[in-house]
Symmetry: C2
Subunit: 483 residues, 2 copies
């Protein structure tokens, strides 16, 4: 809350990110567990809204809401070899309750397939039970060995996980596509974060999945932030857990399953990074922790200004807006600076002369424009300017995003792009036999292959040779550094 | 979902409780961790609403929303001797991350004072920062040695915890009283569960607290279910954690703190137990997982019935109601029986002739009355009957509750009351010197002293002698068996 200047978002985004988290009181890293952090109201209010939008969308698609235990028996994990291999290096183990050693070690959930599938085996009996769509809002725990960074990578994070079962592979795949539509509707449509949907290469699949898809956002500085992933688990996993149903032909069959995992706390990182500027944060109107701040001007000379401000606060609160009235003893200029840094979309200024004219000044955080509005048209103005602000943030983000995607025809060209953008290039194979070329790219450029697009037919560049081995390219892939 | 009859709520409430949880699909106990359970959509939807009401009330009172890590370093715990003594027998310990032994054991939060206070020491600087009101919605973990029972006592449960700091003891006590008002407004006002607020005896305080207050609900069968507790932590705890502020007189002082803990999953047990009947569950309209079910009648003869039902479903969903349309191939009678058991407040029946008359039949779960309503007055009718149902459940619960409180003048009389009600009696002292008499009562009657009332001045019975030792009684106390 002090007056020190923020590092520049344009030229020093890394430090800007670290500083804004502290200055805007989004989260406090001074907690005694490495990689864990205390989320403060300014981020929690926003993330609660983000949960609401995701959950409403999933419910509309027929997902039902469960609460599963955070503790998962080790024996559940051990049923599926790839899964245990993928997750055990990252599991927090509970081995003791009070003074007693537990009979079986319990994993603090790193993900919940094993817990959900164990119950699916009890609940799913008939084809009439399918499709079976479930989700839970939960925290997950991973003993990260990589460097942690607030919101981007921490040892406890906040997500939603869906687990669904279907009669056919086609239906399951359809659900994967719908998951990606949810991502688009919510992450882009509401939060204003553009993404590309990739199918991940074979070497980058979720432990135990058949196919993995992921949406990638990219910061204006050119680093990828992974958004929700969705997985075709197929039949192997449900088989291991004994999930089966009697079909209409009386035969016993195994369903096809999928899962989808929007990590709310990581998407929050994209909200911070995508919409920020040199002044601080910006939030889309729908998810802003506070949507409006009222600043009384010269109230020490005209006490009625405060009465008016309070009256307006009440009116707008009743309408359901999230609103703040700043009555601290700071000067108006300081207050402006502070709430702009916090990213409040709209500011209403009320001074002594406004009491007579019944007009207020409204400031918009994105355009930095001030307009004069009539008191009796205030709701319409808030609605209009709030909507315009969100649309403007989206448009701006999309424009930046599109400018970050560049074609590359050689490893040198990839090297030039990676770090400031995402390179689009020809590649031999995203199956296992392409892994050597992928490793070369990572070693030479520092970028990772994000995958192939499933939303468009992506045409090969020029003669269509793999940028590494020169053999016939089968795919266009995208390469970037990630967080 | 099968057709077997429920055990009687009136004569066999224990079995009724176990069965209804399974039959109504509130929670599944077949999960592989003892004392943990999987909450299913029918309880989750209700508990989400319960969270909403509590959180809205707390926010209105100025509490801000935090998310703290679930893992608490052992060193935080060890700072306060009573607290560690009180909680360590119940702590789940994380000792390993992946293959590595952690440098310090981490407690899976059994409660979060130590985590909150550690951060308070960083955040609270000046008297201007006070009052400082915070809360989080979280899961807590306790390695219970007592027998667990779904919703009533489990090893993972769902709660809200508030942690607040004040300048004076009076302000802190005022906040305790406001917490109890929140309990009344939400637990009684919305959920329809009557409670009495007690100050707990000295031997029953929260580990580390100065004074402990608790609201007790009581089932129609006479067993207490503890509702939210609130604690005057006073200054000792903040001192231990170095929480201090500079007052307006420039002196450094220690704030007084309080905490309040509504356990949502346990309050849910009271909703089940208080409002149930021989047919199954009943929910207040505001927190019902589904508020209305639409049952099409004879749709096989008149397909337009389904169109009408769907049209109505959409209209009501748009209005924000939680609503179900049952298009399964069961007979209407079976559907009635099923949704009554599930506790849906209102049922709308639509048959072929209703399409012409534009009138529907509406059934109310509490009164079991059917009324005929005009299609164009459906919203008003839902609002009116929903409100009446909630009021009726409240009134009925309060009447039962009042009938359960009985005066007792001897240990024998207490013995007769305990188990079917709550005994009100004279008692020598709720300070440490009364503990022997309390133990006698518990041994002889199986009931526990719940405490003294703080909401009314409770007059001693007759000559005012302690029911156990015969010495001068200083208090009226209440005795009951609890869950």
């Amino acid at each position: 809350m002090n007056g020190e200047k923020l590092p520049s978002y344009d030229t020093n985004p890394g430090e800007w990110y670290t500083e804004i988290i502290q200055k805007a009181e989004l989260a406090d890293i001074r907690y005694g567990v490495k990689g864990a952090l205390v989320f403060q109201p300014w981020s929690v209010e926003c993330m609660e809204k983000m949960y609401d939008y995701f959950e409403a969308d999933l419910k509309k698609r027929g997902h039902k809401n469960y609460w599963y235990p955070a503790l998962i028996p080790e024996s559940y994990f051990q049923k599926e070899a790839e899964h245990i291999k993928g997750f055990t290096p990252e599991v927090f183990w509970v081995e003791r309750g009070g003074e007693e050693k537990l009979e079986e070690r319990l994993a603090l959930r790193p993900t919940s397939e094993t817990a959900f599938y164990t119950m699916f085996a009890q609940w799913i009996r008939s084809y009439k039970d399918l499709p079976f769509r479930t989700y839970q809002r939960a925290n997950v725990y991973r003993y990260e060995t990589k460097a942690t960074r607030p919101f981007l990578r921490s040892r406890e994070f906040y997500w939603i996980e869906t687990h669904c079962a279907f009669r056919t592979k086609e239906e399951a795949y359809q659900n994967v596509l719908e998951d990606m539509e949810t991502t688009k509707r919510v992450v882009y449509g509401i939060f204003g974060i553009p993404t590309i949907v990739f199918e991940r290469p074979a070497w980058d699949k979720f432990a135990g999945a058949g196919r993995t898809f992921g949406a990638d956002a990219i910061t204006p500085q050119g680093r990828v932030v992974q958004q929700p992933s969705t997985h075709m688990i197929n039949q192997h996993f449900p088989k291991v857990f004994g999930v089966k149903y009697t079909d209409s032909d009386e035969k016993e069959k195994t369903p096809y399953t999928t899962c989808y995992g929007p990590a709310i706390s990581r998407i929050m990182a994209s909200v911070i990074l995508t919409h920020g500027d040199n002044k601080g944060l910006k939030f889309p109107f729908e998810i802003a922790p506070k949507q409006i701040v009222i600043i009384p001007i010269l109230a020490e000379k005209e006490p009625k200004v405060i009465d008016k401000a309070k009256e307006l606060l009440e009116t707008l609160e009743e309408k359901g807006y999230r609103i703040e009235l700043d009555t601290t003893d700071k000067r108006p200029g300081e207050k402006f600076y502070f709430w702009e840094m916090k990213g409040v979309p709209l500011r209403i200024e009320i001074g002594p002369k406004d009491l007579k004219t019944k007009k207020f000044t409204m400031y918009r955080r994105d355009t930095e424009e001030k307009t004069t509005i009539n008191e009796n048209e205030i709701i319409e103005n808030i609605e209009k300017q709030g909507k315009e602000l969100s649309e403007n943030l989206k448009k701006k983000a999309m424009k930046t995003f599109n400018g970050l995607i560049k074609d590359a025809k050689s490893i040198d060209e990839i090297k030039k792009i990676v770090g400031t953008g995402i390179a689009r290039t020809n590649f031999c194979s995203v199956e296992k036999d392409g892994v050597n070329c992928a490793e070369t790219i990572e070693k030479e450029t520092g970028g990772k292959i994000r995958g192939t697009r499933i939303d468009i037919e992506d045409k090969l560049i020029d003669e269509g040779k793999c940028v590494v081995c020169g053999k016939k390219a089968n795919h266009v892939v995208y390469i970037a550094k990630d967080y």
